[in-house]
Subunit: 302 residues, 2 copies
């Protein structure tokens, strides 16, 4: 039993194109229609044959859909949803893949008041962007968080859950505000910090850019991967999840100040205590299959 | 022509045992002697047959060496060097692998005033510790920085350079104070920040530890790898490279405060400008072979 038979994907970048590929793999009889605002992306997706049909307008992409998934930056989610209102079937379920949820859920509900909305966030991605960067296995063993509003029909939530499970994900239901708090610490703050340190390193006068790159294997290079993520996507995440990000950032800054003080005063015990404690977190992540168990993410072959 | 014929390695953890393996691979006729303060480590190294001989005391390990490499935490470098003074041949060259250099160079010169000292820092490692975690390819295509004091005989520097080149590294000569500044931004600050955010995430009340682990694929898990690095090694790095780390930390904090302000005031252009700029740094690192070109460090197989 397929949860949906006619799926429309609006926005065919890394995530949208990965959803298309994963649907093809897992549910090959589903009819897939796609649209992207960028004509070049549409041509690429046609050439790669990722969808049965690529429509030139968002409206044309949704006329017979039973599931519409918006895979666009969270800042334009409301406007893109609004552009569908004349064409979307009243019984189509609307979902999305945005990294912040409270604001998006509100924008979707406002733009499409007659449709059932089941907001979703697959916690998966890479630093690449665009339809060529997508791949079917992106959601395997990753969590997908659904944040339906109270009163959303259980059947609709169940169908969207089944859809993500078929793509290989584990599904969790969460309150949107709690989602935004959890992701602020597990995703948004890490990105903010990575972007910051790469900027700091680029702006030094005492150390050249060339030195920063040459000696990046000491740890810095890890941060550059995250800091290569899509700029529009991440700008929108910070603007739409402001309160939770600022809260986590405040805590991080306090903790960093405490470490700064420990370094200044030569308090080796405080440093050792923290550095020992943090090892255990890594172990748990690996035990739960959320990262590669091989050293150095397995990036060296040995 | 071998640069050295009898190499002694004091400290047989990740780095020391990797040096032993790499010497075996690249210069199999070199006689390798090792010592570690930990009897369990000595037994492991004997069982793995990584050295021709494993000595029970540091002095016994160096009696006929022409190169002695100290692979111990930087905080004990001076004391370990001092323990060799009665046994080390006067013509043995002394080197190390410490991650901070000005303080170490001073400590080594003070402890072994009659030997030529060529301090070294191979910029390579993983988050693992101990002799079983080492591997021969660790130094391939990585940089090794030598920081000899003015007046060090050129021939000695050339021999240590050749040694590291034979292990697969590119060698650079640098002033120790400049080394410490460069590594403060490319290695020490990234570790400090990673340790901090993993600590911050562990201490939250609003988000459970279990949630932090489940949703870590959003970015957080990257930081946990670095924050799983050896606590003693890293405590010592921060205590011995205090000034440079505090200088870089101050700049980072200023930049983070500017971003915090941009988020608070909804200045999307400032965020977008930084996020676009940081992408280029990643590209340069990959072009120069200092990281895996595959997305997500290649940790997903697709």
């Amino acid at each position: 039993m397929l949860p949906f038979e006619r799926v429309s994907i609006i926005g065919l970048g890394l995530i949208g194109s990965s959803v298309a590929r994963a649907v093809r793999d897992a549910m090959p009889t589903v009819r897939l229609t796609g649209h992207d605002a960028d004509v070049g992306v549409r041509e690429t997706v046609r050439a790669l044959k990722l969808c049965d049909d690529v429509a030139d307008t968002p409206g044309a992409a949704v006329t017979d859909a039973d599931l519409v998934i918006l895979c666009v930056p969270v800042g334009v989610m409301g406007d893109v949803a609004a552009s569908l209102v004349a064409d979307i079937p009243a019984d189509a379920i609307v979902s999305d893949v945005g990294s912040s949820k409270a604001g998006v859920a509100e924008a979707l509900a406002k733009a499409l008041p007659d449709n059932v909305i089941v907001p979703a966030h697959p916690v998966a991605g890479t630093e690449r962007s665009g339809p060529e960067a997508g791949f079917a296995a992106l959601f395997h063993q990753r969590w997908c968080i659904l944040t339906p509003a109270p009163g959303t029909p259980d059947a609709a939530v169940a169908r969207v859950s089944t859809f993500w499970e078929r793509l290989g994900s584990n599904v969790e239901i969460m309150d949107p505000a709690h989602h935004d708090l959890v992701l602020a610490i597990t995703s948004h703050l890490p990105h903010l910090i990575a972007y910051t340190i790469v900027g700091t390193a680029s702006d030094l006068e005492s150390v050249t850019q060339s030195e920063v790159i040459k000696y990046s294997a000491g740890g810095f290079r890890d941060f550059t991967r995250i800091a290569a993520s899509d700029p529009v996507m991440w700008r929108d995440v910070f603007l739409t999840n402001k309160d939770a990000v600022l809260e986590m950032l405040q805590r991080f800054s306090e903790d960093l100040t405490a470490l700064q003080r420990a370094i200044r005063w030569g308090d080796g015990d405080a440093l050792f205590e923290l550095f020992t404690r943090t090892r255990a977190v890594r172990r748990s992540i690996i035990e739960q299959g959320q990262d590669d168990a091989r050293p150095d993410f397995g990036r060296s072959d040995h």
